[in-house]
């Protein structure tokens, strides 16, 4: 279980790869209530000029925080979480889109025992989220 006092800026605290499939998108649509068809229908996605069916941005955001939650295992909680959506994750009809997340300690607020964890979320070698930051209260 991580302790605030042992954290160092620049330290990679978690890393995980997520296989995102069409099944994942349908499951997320149901759980979130976001049934925009660009997230499950190829014909609709191409009609509006997209390179393919895209993962919901909010799914990518939701996935990206999971390695932090696992790493924390209850020793702290996320009090602020923000991202910019910079590139889409295209999910093929069969097979999977591999989304990789690396979580790094970016800043420490010693006075309040808070740490800013920056997330690097990438797909096919490109970062898909910008300024993905989570403040954790220990």
């Amino acid at each position: 279980m991580p302790e605030f006092s042992s954290l160092e800026t620049g330290q990679v605290v978690a890393q995980r790869e997520f296989p995102v499939t069409r099944d994942s998108l349908v499951r997320y649509a149901g759980a979130s209530g976001d049934f925009n068809p660009i997230h499950y229908r190829d014909d609709v996605a191409s009609q509006v000029g997209l390179p393919g069916v895209l993962a919901h941005g909010m799914l990518t955001m939701g996935i990206s925080i999971q390695p932090v939650i696992s790493w924390l295992s209850g020793s702290g909680e996320v009090v602020d979480y923000s991202v910019r959506f910079t590139k889409p994750v295209v999910v093929p009809a069969s097979g999977e889109a591999l989304v990789n997340v690396v979580a790094t300690v970016a800043a420490l607020d010693e006075e309040n025992s808070k740490a800013r964890i920056d997330l690097t979320t990438s797909f096919e070698g490109n970062t898909v989220l910008g300024k993905a930051q989570a403040w954790v209260q220990f």
Partner: protein, 135 residues
């Protein structure tokens, strides 16, 4: 066409949404999270509450928000406390800003989410990019 005049507009409080344990578990599974007993409430779950407030904007003829032209630009959640199953949540949305950017609009919504005691639980801040008619 998005109406820039809606900057500062506040939408009415939504009706209460009761947070269900199995709904949280389903959402956690859908975001590749843990589902065992005592699992952590997924931090992005308040998007489901924000959605109810956002639907008021989409239904508002004055706003002119064409959702088929919308791309999600940014999202932030500031948590006052973690959600728990059984919470009865309402939300209230304010149009924080509308900016024009080369034929596109960027609109930022601040949605405050309250519990049954009317205490702030979470603020969800969403920036949408609305593509212009000729973009």
């Amino acid at each position: 066409m998005l109406n820039p005049e809606i900057q500062g507009k506040r939408y009415p409080r939504t009706r209460p949404y009761t947070v269900g344990l199995e709904k949280l578990r389903e959402f956690s599974a859908a975001t590749f999270g843990n589902t065992a007993d005592g699992f952590v409430v997924p931090p992005t779950f308040p998007i489901a509450i924000q959605e109810h407030s956002l639907s008021l904007v989409i239904a508002d003829p004055e706003a002119g928000l064409d959702f088929s032209r919308v791309v999600h630009g940014e999202q932030r959640f500031i948590y006052e406390r973690q959600l728990v199953p059984g919470d009865e949540l309402t939300s209230e949305l304010e149009v924080a800003s509308v900016k024009s950017l080369g034929g596109n609009h960027m609109v930022t919504f601040n949605t405050e989410i309250f519990d049954k005691q009317d205490k702030l639980v979470c603020t969800a801040i969403s920036t949408l990019v609305v593509r212009g008619e000729d973009a």
